[in-house]
């Protein structure tokens, strides 16, 4: 009887400390949304330009299953991405990792913007001359210049 009571007590204690079995299973089984959150940023080498989360091929389904397995093992997003990079190369990532030649995709756009901006400013300065007469400054009470301009254009077109 004492043994039975002790066993029941121990079972009760364990039940109080440990989470229910169902909850454990739930925590170990990542949801589709958790899998897709990572799959969204990955591309398989075959289905280029189709993100893994929406790719309908069997190969991509297997990749998603792999993500699910890794998540169940407690891996985080960076670890899972690194795993796929080691297996298949940088092309699985949605954007080139910032190293080596890949820096070009991050540096060229701002460089082009700055260079183009400098050319634009230079060209505008070169083409600019001081305004001959400022109509607004000369006669603030003149007729609305917008209406004048509109009517001029309409008149010119017959």
């Amino acid at each position: 009887m004492r043994q039975t009571l002790a066993a029941l007590l121990l079972a009760g204690l364990l039940a109080a400390v440990a989470p229910p079995a169902g909850v454990v299973a739930q925590a170990e089984q990542p949801t589709d949304d958790e899998v897709n959150a990572i799959a969204k940023g990955l591309y398989c080498p075959v289905c280029e330009n189709v993100p893994l989360d929406v790719c309908p091929t069997l190969a991509c389904k297997q990749w998603r299953d792999t993500i699910r397995e890794k998540l169940a093992l407690g891996w985080d997003q960076a670890q899972i991405e690194q795993y796929f990079v080691e297996q298949y190369g940088d092309r699985v990532l949605a954007a080139p990792p910032a190293r080596g030649l890949n820096w070009a995709v991050y540096l060229i756009p701002p460089a082009v913007f700055l260079l183009g901006g400098a050319v634009l400013v230079g060209a505008m300065r070169a083409w600019r001359r001081p305004p001959a007469v400022s109509r607004v400054g000369q006669d603030p009470a003149a007729e609305d210049p917008y209406l004048e301009r509109l009517e001029d254009e309409l008149r010119a077109r017959g």
């Binding site: 949801t31 589709d32 949304d33 897709n36 940023g41 591309y43 080498p45 280029e48 330009n49 189709v50 993100p51 929406v54 309908p56 389904k61 190369g89 940088d90 092309r91 699985v92 990532l93 949605a94 954007a95 080139p96 080596g100 030649l101 890949n102 070009a104 995709v105 060229i108 756009p109 082009v112 913007f113 183009g116 901006g117 634009l120 060209a123 505008m124 083409w127 600019r128 001359r129 001081p130 305004p131 001959a132 007469v133 400022s134 109509r135 607004v136 400054g137 210049p145 917008y146 209406l147 301009r149 509109l150 009517e151 254009e153 309409l154 010119a156 077109r157 017959g158």
Partner: protein
């Protein structure tokens, strides 16, 4: 017999194109107008000849001549007749013939115009269009012959050849493979012709620009003559892009309409340069400035048109669009290189004669803001180009292929598009020539102040996404400024002429279709921007596997899985179709039937979403997988796409505006008749 007729017609058209280009150039150089006229007639003949070839292909497609390789590749006996006809552009060879046919049609249309005032341009327009046509015809004659037949050689191997190889006997398959299932959507049936029309029409302004350079014409005549060609090209390109987006949304099953795929971008790049061109030509017409820049822009647009076709057709970039792969890449590459070098060399030769006739008077004048607009378009274009070619460059230099995905494009181009929206809100209020901050401020303060209600309302409603608040504010500003312009213009007419406001509005737009058509286009862009912000920043999604009767929740929507049925169709599909009941805020609002079609002959699945569409949102459901035996459980991916329908609505308004802007101006006809020698005054 049909094959021989079709191929002979292509060869003859190729000969006509070569003769036309040669005779026109020789006639111009030696000042022999009869040779130029002969070249013009050769140009006019090319279209009926290619029509014969295109009709021959259609006849083969419709009659199921599976001994012809192209027919066996793109049709099958289960396809309906209309799809067999549209299979003309469903594959590599046919689409190149179709491209050539459109090119010849546009060249002929240009050849039929009145050339009284532009005799010096005619020979060089013929040269450019006929060289372009000859290039495309050479691809189909020498590399991608659509009339090649299937043969069995003496050892039993299948070979393809136009003429019977020695000892071979004809191979006649019982059925064809059928058109790629992805291409059987109505949007995709119309999408390629629209894109091709857009591409081909841009050849005409380019031809006139080159002709003006060769003929040393420094005026803006080439721009005025090709104004409508350019707008028509832009219209078709826009339609092509819109239909492509709709096709992707309906068929590709990724929950969006634009994936920054390299081939999408290939069609987008000439649109960007073409849009910049449409704005900058107005500065040349008004102020006689930007002459070099406009020629450079149209050269760039032409090169991007050929580059776009190259990417689509050569298979150099593997993507969802690049169905066809062939050996024509080097030919395209050489053609792009040669035309670019020759065009730029010609421009540099004429550089000194193309000096601007005016100067910038103000940094906030209309022409300055158009320059800024061009700058942003070209930066976006450069970003797109970099994104498309970088994977190739990386592979070439490091052996490592990389992916340049949507996030990269969106992060970089997002602020640039926002800058364009800001310019759209400000530029219509600025004046050509002299302008000042004070004057601009006077024009802007009313719509600018009212537009602040948009971010205020959003912040009060709890929208915390700063990018969305900024985007909606800019969209609101553009809408208000545009409507303000309509209202002020109509009010001016009402006051001056005593017209009622509706009449004044219609007459105002009718008197300056390009400007007010342009404003309608701006309103279309506002609507599209609203949709893009909605789906890009507020899209939500979930996925789950459901047993029959179970439910999946997404926001205020609940989907209950009712069951899955599987059946075969007469056109060779195995269809798996799920049924879901959709509840919103606890109320049943409809049923959805997402499905997967498996095309047996093509061995290809296709995911067709079930979509519940309202103006404010789309509920977009994909059948991802299912239990094939019990049919008791299925996996669904559900997207909630807020405001996405504003993209399509905006597209419609955008096209409407382009039609208004491109519509022939009735008022210019009597002017032209009565004042033959005078400068042609029309447009903005």
């Amino acid at each position: 017999m049909i094959e021989e007729i079709g191929y002979s017609a292509l060869v003859l058209a190729f000969g006509m194109a070569l003769y036309g280009a040669g005779a026109a150039a020789f006639g111009a150089k030696r000042e022999r107008p009869e040779l130029v006229e002969s070249a013009r007639r050769a140009m006019l003949l090319s279209w009926p000849l290619i029509s014969v070839a295109a009709l021959a292909i259609i006849a083969l497609l419709v009659s199921g001549r599976y001994d012809v390789e192209y027919v066996a590749k793109v049709t099958s006996s289960t396809m309906p007749p209309y799809l067999k006809v549209t299979a003309l552009w469903g594959g590599q060879e046919g689409s190149l013939v179709f491209w050539s046919w459109l090119m010849a049609a546009f060249a002929s249309a240009a050849g039929l115009r009145r050339w009284d005032r532009d005799r010096d341009l005619l020979p060089w327009v013929i040269v450019v269009t006929m060289i372009t046509l000859a290039f495309f015809l050479s691809l189909v004659i020498f590399v991608e012959n659509p009339f090649r037949r299937l043969w069995l050689d003496p050892v039993g191997n299948t070979v393809t050849a136009f003429l019977r190889p020695a000892g071979a006997r004809p191979l006649i398959p019982a059925d064809g493979q059928g058109l790629n299932p992805l291409l059987r959507h109505p949007g995709m049936i119309i999408h390629p012709p629209m894109l091709y029309l857009g591409f081909v029409s841009f050849v005409i302004p380019y031809a006139f620009a080159i002709a003006a350079l060769v003929a040393r014409r420094t005026d803006d005549r080439w721009i005025r003559v090709t104004r409508r060609w350019t707008l028509v090209a832009w219209l078709f390109l826009s339609l092509g892009l819109l239909l492509g987006g709709r096709w992707a949304y309906d068929v590709l099953g990724w929950g969006g309409y634009w994936g920054w795929d390299p081939v999408e971008i290939a069609a987008f790049m000439p649109f960007l340069s073409g849009t910049a061109f449409l704005h900058s030509v107005m500065v040349q017409e008004k102020k006689g400035m930007l002459k070099h820049w406009n020629v450079l822009l149209i050269i760039l647009t032409y090169v991007l048109v050929i580059f776009g076709t190259f990417l689509t057709r050569s298979g150099v970039l593997s993507s969802v669009h690049a169905f066809a792969q062939s050996a024509i890449g080097p030919m395209f590459f050489a053609f792009i290189g040669i035309t670019s070098i020759v065009s730029v060399r010609l421009l540099l030769d004429r550089w000194g004669t193309l000096r601007g006739e005016n100067q910038l008077n103000s940094l906030i004048s209309r022409e300055s803001l158009f320059l800024l607009n061009n700058f942003l378009f070209i930066i976006i274009l450069a970003v797109c180009f970099l994104g498309v070619i970088f994977p190739l460059v990386s592979e070439l230099f490091t052996g490592q292929t990389v992916t340049v995905g949507p996030e990269w494009y969106e992060r970089i181009t997002g602020p640039l598009f926002a800058g364009l929206l800001l310019l759209m809100g400000v530029a219509p209020l600025s004046a050509y020539g002299s302008s000042s901050w004070r004057l601009l401020g006077r024009q802007l303060w009313v719509p600018g102040s009212v537009s602040l209600l948009v971010p205020a309302g959003l912040l009060l409603a709890g929208v915390g996404n700063w990018a969305a608040v900024l985007g909606f504010w800019l969209a609101g500003l553009v809408a208000l400024v545009t409507l303000y312009e309509f209202w002020r213009g109509a009010l001016a007419r009402h006051r001056r002429h005593g017209e009622s406001m509706p009449v004044a509005l219609v007459r105002l737009a009718g008197r300056n279709r390009r400007r007010y058509g342009g404003y309608i286009i701006h309103l279309g862009v506002v609507l599209m921007a609203t949709g893009i912000i909605g789906i890009e920043l507020f899209q939500t999604e979930t996925q789950g596997t459901l047993a029959r009767g179970e439910q999946l929740n997404l926001g205020s929507h609940v989907l209950v899985f009712q069951g899955l049925t599987q059946f075969n169709t007469p056109d060779g599909r195995e269809v798996s179709r799920a049924e879901l009941s959709v509840y919103k805020d606890g109320r049943l609002v409809g049923q959805l039937f997402p499905r997967q079609d498996f095309y047996i002959a093509a061995n290809q699945p296709m995911t067709i979403p079930g979509v519940r569409s309202t103006l404010e949102e789309d509920l977009y459901v994909l059948l991802v997988g299912w239990e094939p035996i019990a049919q008791q459980g299925a996996t669904f991916k559900v997207f909630h796409n807020p405001l996405v329908n504003f993209v399509w609505l905006g597209g419609f308004v955008f096209i409407l505006g382009t039609l208004v802007a491109a519509w022939p101006d009735r008022e210019t006809a009597p002017l032209r008749r009565s004042v033959q020698a005078a400068a042609w005054v029309s447009g903005d």
